[in-house]
Symmetry: C4
Subunit: 217 residues, 4 copies
């Protein structure tokens, strides 16, 4: 209660540093998979043409693009939460850290999926892939609820419509990823497709005022 009114610029500075640190970690995670995009050397070509050798690497490009976009959407969501979150405390730092750890891992299940897609072990890979999103969706919920419960860490004049949109949009995330996880054992395509549909859903702005203004433009 009191914390909310002491020294507003102090508070601003605190979330500024959390955002800066988060941006650093997410920026690294988002570029990590580029390290796997290797140039095929002239010796490795064998009889194949360079174009064919480049095309043969498609799962690596697929993993890179998918990881990048997925983490980008997570960054946009993280960024959006901080349009209403203006305060911070000790446990919030810890929860944010756990969320960052799970985001950092995204390139791993994505590369796993890329490696085993079309393979007999594809269901295992799809399960690990959707399973990692269950974890991330739960952590986004925990972080948002911790911050927004009773307005604990929200700004005094925060955009209430945006806060409501976030609450609504996040609520069913974990359950839907659990469905994607279960689907993995029946149909890899359906499981991965649901994950991607959910990514598109979280990439949508919701129905916030600012977004509508822009749309009317």
């Amino acid at each position: 209660m009191v914390a909310k009114f002491d020294s507003s610029p102090e508070a601003e500075k605190e979330t500024a540093r959390i955002e800066a640190f988060s941006d650093g970690v997410i920026a690294i995670a988002i570029t990590l998979l580029v390290l796997d995009v290797k140039v095929p050397t002239a010796q490795e070509l064998g009889g194949a043409s360079l174009m064919r050798a480049l095309l043969r690497q498609w799962p690596i490009y697929f993993a890179f693009v998918t990881s990048f976009l997925t983490i980008l959407i997570m960054w946009v969501n993280h960024h959006r939460m901080f349009r209403v979150i203006k305060y911070s405390d000790h446990w919030f730092l810890i929860i944010n850290g756990l969320l960052l750890m799970s985001i950092t891992l995204v390139p791993f299940p994505t590369a796993l999926l890329a490696e085993y897609i079309g393979h007999a072990y594809a269901p295992t890979a799809a399960a690990v892939y959707s399973g990692s999103f269950i974890l991330i969706a739960i952590l986004f919920n925990v972080m948002w609820r911790y911050a927004s419960r009773g307005g604990r860490l929200l700004g005094a004049q925060h955009d209430r419509e945006l806060a409501a949109t976030i609450t609504k949009q996040y609520r069913f995330g974990p359950l839907l990823y659990v469905a994607a996880f279960a689907l993995a054992f029946f149909s890899v395509a359906a499981s991965v497709g649901l994950c991607m549909a959910l990514a598109v859903f979280f990439a949508l702005p919701g129905t916030t005022k600012r977004a509508r203004v822009t749309a009317q433009h």
Copy 2:
């Protein structure tokens, strides 16, 4: 319309975080190729002297320097856009993310070119190289047009001359890179030369006021 006038410091903070995140991603992309600059071990030298072994690696140095300078020029251009862009919205974040993804990939086509220059597959490498710049030039245009169309995300008091310069300078970028792409199949040297000439062109400050002031100094 309304978005432009609500809470100016809020807006400032928003572009601040986009810039910070972009800086992080670009900073990582710009240093990634350093990881390929490996020290030849004493065992690898064979009969050669260390100096000869170091010189033999010239394509790696070439790729590092070229990638670094290319990405640096992109950063300068990104930075310059944000001297007039003062607002942000959801889709702007997504477009900026796609631009960052394409910038992050620059070390790959550059290393490919360095590996195959002088080789029978050089035209393929030069085509991939110039092709990646078509994509980046298009994304710079999309981002700039999205932000500047009707002044959507520009500051109320923005430098109109600088905005006009950017619009003019970007307009022909994609087409000229398409020309470089077509040239790759006739002359690798001409294709790569055109790409480098275009990089120098985008490194020029244009004719903005500040640049002229500095030049008169």
Copy 3:
């Protein structure tokens, strides 16, 4: 003395840049070990199932999670110090740099411990592991004492209770890690357990005002 009163915004900007640079270094260090989390390729599986191959890698996951959490706690502590530190000087930059260097190294002893746990050389690995924390604990103390001695670099209106908590919490860190180091030669489990207990201890907020406010919430 005088330094404390000259140009307060200048001072703010200075610690802002130290914090930004520190965040960058720590963000990289915290994600480095992800590079070791490799996808087992289809060829490497041998007769084993993918799930078995993934589980066989547990020491790598363990090292990643432990390193991440350990460095996260260090970041939270670094961040907390800068809630009261508002000034900077030349030697403070150097001390902070040495602390960052030691934090950057954390993934190495952690990976070492993960590789040799349960092995005949486990005591050596545990000694290196706890030994690296002795160094870090000493550097945290040196940095805090340099900044807080006589209030040298603290803000004029700093939270005195928080400063006292930090002093108290850091005081016995080095000695307790020396105990963990000595224990390594008798019981690896006890040594590593003590290190982890200490990590949890440093993850606690202490008894600062803000933390209590939050708890009452």
Copy 4:
């Protein structure tokens, strides 16, 4: 001239982003060599004990510590310049970019020196090592002179004593590194020793007011 007086907060924001980007690049460069600090696997030990295997890697630790400290000192110097530099222009961004490129490369000559110290090719390695510092020292001078000539990019109320100290301290850097380069062909120890003495010299605060105040403390 005019540039100096237009929109002071604008100017502040501009150097803020240069500093942020520079911090990002330097933070990555400073941690890159950690990737070379590999854990010897149980299979690689052969008959040797783990402690012996760890000690055998000393040149890698030496390269890591030396690179880290060298780049740290460069960061401190970069940071110090920006205590008086408050404006920016197009060419300043480019010069800063070239300086960052050269700083990014530091781990390479350092690893080279570590690999060949005590080897017949040590003079070549020492020449490359000191040669890279000639380049960096020149770029620091070019950047500082570009910014400070006629006060071009300095703040109106900048600390004149600090500016004079920087000018004086940088002036002989390139020449002394040329001497270290020449020495490499006669005595590797003398060449490397001179480089390290110069690093210590640039780590000194000079005789700025703030430093003296702190010392009197």
